[in-house]
Subunit: 406 residues, 2 copies
C-alpha cells in the first residue's frame, strides 16, 4: 500500500475510496420537477425551533471562541444523564466525547482500532460509510451477509464466527440498522458479544436509530431498542457511535458523540485536536437543548415515522409484486420487486416512471444488492403519494411481465 | 506499526500521538484569577455581528438539512472570487472545497499524500498540529530547524534539501508562520518550490495568516504576504490550507477550506463524506457573509494586532533581557529570555510570577525550544498590561541573575 505510488501521486487508500452508490441515482434525479426524494436518511422536518433558538442565542452572546476538544462539560454531562435515563445505570461521564457528527465518531472509532493490516467485520447490507471509511484508512472491511427470510433480516452468527481471522480487530453492530431496519434481539447481541470476548475484538456499536423501534417484541421500556449496553459489562471493549441527527432532526448540524472506555479519553482528545479541534459552542448549545428538552419531539418523530412505515408497507403489499417485511426499527423500507435483480437500474427507472427517488441496494454491500431503500421519515401525505406512484409503476411493470409470460 | 499490538488494544499511531505541549501550561494557569491568556492563537474579539447574524438567519429559516459535501456552491464561488481578488488570476472554483476547520483541511491534505512509510518535511518551530496530525496517520514528520539570527527566522534551504529522501512526500510551508511570525520571501518560496519540483514532492502551504503582514518589505499589494501562488504554476502540486478562524475572528466556527488541483476534487469529496460529511449550512452562511463583506474587519484586526505587536516588542525590549526580533507576520511574538533555556518551566513560572499565560517553545519542535510564544491579537490595554507584568517579572529574574553573578 505504501510505496508503489510514485510521488506526487496521492495515497491509494484515499484515491480508491468508493463513492457512495447513492450518488449516481441522486444526481440522475435531483433536479426532476416533482421528485419525491426518499433516497437519503433524513426526515422532512427542520430542527425544532427551541433547538435552533438555543444556537442563535449563543451566537448572539458571542460564543464564537475555541472550546474544549471533547465538548462542553455540561453537554457531556447531559449526554451521560440521557444515557443513564434511557438505558439505566450510572455511566461515567468521562466515557462520552462530543464529535463533529456521528460520521466523525465512526471515523475516530475506526482510527482508534484499525488501519492497514486490520480487518473489520461488517454484517451487510450496511450503511455505505462503514466500508467507505475503513477503506480510506487502509483497513479491510469483511462483509458478512445477513440472513434474510420471512421474518426479515438477522445476523448470521456462524458466518460472523467463520469470518474471524488473526487480523480481525472489530465487529460492527448497527442496530436498528440502516438500511434494513433489522433490530437485534438480546440473543443476537449476546452472540456477537461472546465472539468479541472470546477473540478479544472490539465491538463498534452504531445505535443511532435506537429510539426508532416499531416492533413491540423488540421494544425495551416503551421507547427504545435492545442495546449492546444491556448485555455488556462496563469494561467490555465497546465503542458506541451516536448522533444528534436522527432523534432531533439535526442532520445538518454535524454533531454526535463517541462513547468509549474512559482510559481512551486522552487518545480521543488528541484525535479530536488533530482532526476538527472540536465542535462550535453554538452548535453544542443547540445539542444541549435537544438532549435535555427534546424527548417529546422524539416521540412525535417516532410516531410519524411509524405512520409512514404503515403507509408504505400497505401500499407496496397491495401490488403483490413486492417482497417487504415490515422493518422492526429505523425508518427505512428495504424491499425488492419480483423479477428485478438490478436495483441500480430500477432506481434510475423509478425516477423516470414514478418520480420517486430511492437508494439502490448495490450501495449497501453484499446480501441485498437487488433491494431498494426507501426513507419513510416524511409526512404521511408525502409517503402516501410515493406509495401510490411506486405501486402504479410496479404494477405497470408487473403487468408487462405477466403479458410477456402469457 | 501494524501487528505488534494485541487486540483489543488501540492503534499505536493513535495511542502515542503527542499531546499539545501547550496544554500543560494552560491547565496549570487556566483558573488563575486575573490571568492574561496569551497562550492560544486567538484574538479577544467575538465574530463580527453581521457574520453571526447571517448564521442566525439561516437557523431561523430552517437550513438544518444535509448539504453538499464540498460546501455550498455559492460559498465555493465566493472563496474563488476572494482568491482571484487578493492574489490575482482566475482560479478554477473546482480547486476549492469547504472543510470542517483549517485543521480538517490539514488532516485531509495529509491523508491525501502521506501515511505509514512516508516522510513529510516540517521547518520548525512549527504549529504542533502539523506533527501531531502526521503522527496520528503513521507518517513520519522530519523536523528541519529554521535559521535564527539578527534578522529573525529563515528557511534553511540547504538543510531542507539534505532532509529529502526517497520516502519524502511533501514539504510544509507555513508563511506567515505560527509560532515565529516568519514570512517567506519570494526567494525562499521559489527555493522550496524548486526542490519540490525537482524531487516530485507536494507542497503543503498553510497561508492562514496571509493577511497579517507587518513588514512593508514583505507586503504585497498593501494587504498580504507573498504567497506560494505568486511563484507557482496552476499545475504545480500544491495543497493550500485555509481557515476562516483568524481573518474573521471565527476560531470557534470550525470552518476552513482546502485548495487542491481540480483532478483531486472527487477524492476530497470522498474524504469529506467519510470524515465529517460536510459543514452545517448555517455555519457556511456565516462564512459566506465573512468572505464577501469582511474586508473592513480584516483591516481593523490587522491594525489592532500591529498595535499589539508594537507594544509587546517595545515593552520586552526595555528589559534588555529579551531576544525578540519584531515578527514580520502573523500575530505572535516568539522570544527568549537571557539565561533561560527551559521554556516549559519559565511558562509555568510566569503564570505564578506575572499571571500571563504563554506557550512554551518546547511545544513547537526543534530549533526554538527555549523560546516562548505570545499571542498579541488582543486589545492594546490587555497587551500593554501583559507587557508590563512580563517586564517586571523578567527584570526581577534578571536582577536575581545579576546579583548572583555580582
Amino acid at each position: 500500500m505504501t510505496d508503489y505510488v510514485l510521488p506526487p501521486a496521492i495515497r491509494a487508500e484515499a484515491e480508491f475510496a468508493p463513492s457512495s452508490g447513492i450518488v449516481e441515482v441522486f444526481n440522475y434525479g435531483r433536479d426532476r420537477e416533482g421528485i419525491i426524494p426518499l433516497w437519503a436518511g433524513e426526515g422532512d422536518l427542520p430542527t425544532p425551533a427551541f433547538i435552533r433558538e438555543a444556537a442563535a442565542r449563543s451566537l448572539e452572546a458571542g460564543e464564537t471562541y475555541y472550546t474544549a476538544q471533547r465538548g462542553l462539560p455540561e453537554l457531556r454531562q447531559a449526554i451521560a444523564a440521557y444515557t443513564d435515563n434511557l438505558y439505566g445505570g450510572n455511566w461515567d461521564p468521562n466515557r462520552f466525547s462530543v464529535t463533529s457528527s456521528g460520521m466523525h465518531a465512526l471515523l475516530m472509532s475506526l482510527r482508534l482500532i484499525s488501519g492497514a493490516g486490520n480487518e473489520v467485520i461488517v454484517p451487510t447490507p450496511a450503511w455505505p460509510n462503514f466500508i467507505g471509511a475503513m477503506t480510506t484508512l487502509g483497513a479491510t472491511p469483511i462483509e458478512v451477509p445477513m440472513l434474510y427470510g420471512q421474518a426479515g433480516w438477522n445476523f448470521d452468527l456462524d458466518a460472523i464466527a467463520r469470518a474471524i481471522t488473526p487480523h480481525t480487530r472489530a465487529i460492527v453492530i448497527n442496530s436498528p440498522s440502516n438500511p434494513t431496519g433489522f433490530t437485534a434481539s438480546y440473543d443476537e447481541l449476546e452472540g456477537v458479544l461472546a465472539l468479541a470476548r472470546k477473540h478479544k475484538l472490539w465491538i463498534l456499536a452504531d445505535e443511532i436509530y435506537g429510539r426508532f423501534v416499531h416492533d413491540e417484541r423488540l421494544t425495551v421500556g416503551n421507547n427504545r431498542a435492545p442495546s449492546v449496553r444491556d448485555v455488556m459489562r462496563e469494561d467490555d471493549d465497546v465503542l458506541f457511535i451516536q448522533s444528534f441527527s436522527k432523534n432531533w432532526a439535526m442532520t445538518g448540524w454535524r454533531v454526535g458523540w463517541i462513547e468509549a472506555p474512559p482510559r481512551i479519553a486522552p487518545v480521543i482528545e488528541n484525535l479530536v485536536q488533530y482532526s476538527t479541534s472540536g465542535v462550535p459552542v453554538f452548535v453544542q448549545r443547540g445539542a444541549l437543548a435537544a438532549i435535555t428538552s427534546g424527548d417529546a419531539f422524539i416521540e412525535e418523530q417516532v410516531a410519524r415515522s411509524r405512520q409512514g412505515r404503515q403507509i408504505i408497507c400497505d401500499g407496496l403489499a397491495m401490488t403483490g409484486l413486492v417482497d417487504l417485511v415490515p422493518p422492526p426499527g429505523a425508518f427505512y423500507a428495504y424491499f425488492r420487486v419480483d423479477g428485478v435483480s438490478d436495483s441500480r437500474q430500477l432506481a434510475l427507472d423509478l425516477i423516470d416512471e414514478a418520480a420517486v427517488g430511492l437508494a439502490p441496494g448495490t450501495a449497501f454491500g453484499r446480501g441485498g444488492e437487488e433491494f431498494l431503500r426507501l426513507c419513510f421519515a416524511k409526512s404521511p401525505e408525502m409517503v402516501g403519494e410515493a406509495a401510490d406512484r411506486l405501486a402504479t409503476a410496479i404494477n405497470r411493470r408487473g403487468g408487462a411481465v405477466r403479458s410477456a409470460l402469457a
